[in-house]
């Protein structure tokens, strides 16, 4: 399974992209590309937050294992 990009990284990427877009450094072609990338990240974030569920796993402390042995 491909490892998901961490949420924080996605947000950082989006922020950087918006900053670049706002600075006007990029030419118009690049600006449109940045905007497209941005909307993709936004969709990913929304999807992640709305559809993903928290995964809860149970672990055993080493002590309990040791006692069982």
């Amino acid at each position: 399974m491909k490892k998901q990009q961490p949420y924080n990284e996605l947000v950082a990427e989006l922020q950087q992209l918006v900053r670049k877009l706002e600075s006007g450094e990029a030419d118009i072609d690049e600006s449109i590309k940045l905007y497209e990338q941005g909307t993709q990240i936004v969709q990913q974030l929304e999807q992640r937050l709305q559809e993903a569920e928290n995964r809860i796993t149970s672990l055993q402390a080493t002590m309990e294992q040791a006692e069982a042995e």
Partner: protein, 387 residues
């Protein structure tokens, strides 16, 4: 070696050696009291060689000696405290009777509070609660190590609020007892387990709901407090209600007032973040539209100046042309005719010039005037002398 005696069959009649007696007594103690909790007031507490622990527990009627190690201390103790001590009675071959300590717990509200106070003073002096030791928790963390009782309301509240606020979290849970003798040991083990994982969680969450001081005591023991303070993974601790402050909470990087509050501090609220993301998306769109608008306006400006430049060039050329045309007009013979001059031509319409030679008397000529052409005959030729 313990001699083979059948205890059930009753005591032997024959005499036993002192050593055998001690062995027999200890075997009997271990059989009868593998583990017993004795409650009493602490007296004559003494530590030897920084390792061995000697004290008495007493009440109005009796006093019993105890022996253990400093590692079994829940924290600093002082004479007069009420303790619950678990141990096994033992007859030492040289030093006589004592109870070998397994665990020590403060008992009764007063002693618990006093024990916590003493421990707090000690750990504070060591800098365990110092503000500059506090680390920031990752926000939001993706992997969480949760230490609490799986049966507790604290667990249920924490998981519920977490799910309502955030998504995609990995919560690894170690089920521990959160009160009683075994609790501190299990909690310390759980903290250690998370810390030694190949991929440890990004944050450790230690929580327990409210209870009487005795129930919360595990979270103010020295071992748990030290384990929290020394955890390499940043810690978030919430014990009891808002007003209860355990030493583990003081040692934690972040303290939450309740288990629910712990979940609130740990992750942002999904709804807020979604609205932020939507705003960012909108801002991005506005920026792009503005950008396109700017480009269009720049393009208009360039296109206008281009048109102006071209039309200036046109005007210029046209003016030139007009000037030439006026010049041409003034140079035209028609203009001379209009001024009253006439042109003489031969009958064959050849202009009479110096080169062509003058007509002779009798020749037919044409006089070209601006109003008409007149046919004439030369009657006289008188040469003009040139000046």
């Amino acid at each position: 070696m313990v001699p083979e005696y059948d205890l059930a069959a009753g005591m032997p009649d024959t005499a036993v050696s002192v050593s055998d007696f001690v062995d027999l007594l200890n075997e009997t103690y271990e059989f009868a009291f593998p583990s017993i909790v004795v409650s009493g007031e602490l007296a004559n507490l003494r530590v030897s060689k920084n390792k061995w622990l000697y004290f008495d527990l007493k009440d109005d009627g009796a006093s019993v000696k105890f022996f253990g190690t400093v590692y079994q201390l829940p924290g600093p103790l002082e004479d007069g405290m009420l303790l619950n001590v678990r141990g096994t009675p033992h007859m030492h071959e040289a030093y006589g009777f004592s109870v070998n300590v397994q665990t020590i717990q403060a008992a009764g509200e007063g002693s618990i509070r006093r024990a916590a106070e003493l421990l707090q003073i000690k750990l504070e002096a060591e800098g365990l609660f110092a503000a500059d030791r506090k680390r920031r928790l990752p926000y939001p963390p993706e992997r969480i190590g949760l230490i609490t009782s799986g049966q507790s309301a604290a667990y249920a509240d924490f998981i519920k609020i977490l799910a309502a606020r955030w998504a995609g979290l990995n919560v690894a849970h170690i089920d521990v007892q959160v009160q009683g003798e075994i609790a501190p040991l299990q909690i310390v083990e759980a903290i250690e387990t998370f810390n030694t994982m190949a991929e440890p969680p990004e944050v450790l969450v230690l929580i327990r709901g409210g209870g009487i001081p005795e129930d919360l005591a595990a979270f103010s023991t020295e071992s748990v407090t030290r384990a929290v303070a020394s955890s390499r993974v940043p810690t978030l601790v919430a014990i009891g209600h808002e007003i209860d402050v355990s030493l583990a909470e003081l040692a934690a990087d972040v303290r939450a007032s309740t288990p629910s509050n712990a979940a609130e501090l740990l992750v942002p609220d999904k709804a807020t973040v979604l609205s932020d993301v939507a705003q960012t998306a909108e801002r991005m769109y506005t920026v792009l539209v503005d950008r396109i608008e700017d480009e269009r306006s720049d393009l208009n400006t360039v296109s206008q100046s281009l048109q102006q430049a071209v039309s200036r060039q046109f005007d210029h050329t046209r003016r030139h042309l007009e000037q030439y045309s006026e010049l041409l007009m003034t140079l035209s013979p028609e203009a001379a005719l209009r001024r009253g001059y006439s042109v003489l031509r031969t009958a064959k319409r050849k202009q009479i010039t110096d080169e062509a030679g003058l007509p002779k008397v009798g020749d037919d000529i044409i006089i070209q005037h601006h109003l008409a052409e007149l046919a004439a005959t030369v009657t006289n030729v008188e040469q003009r002398r040139h000046p």
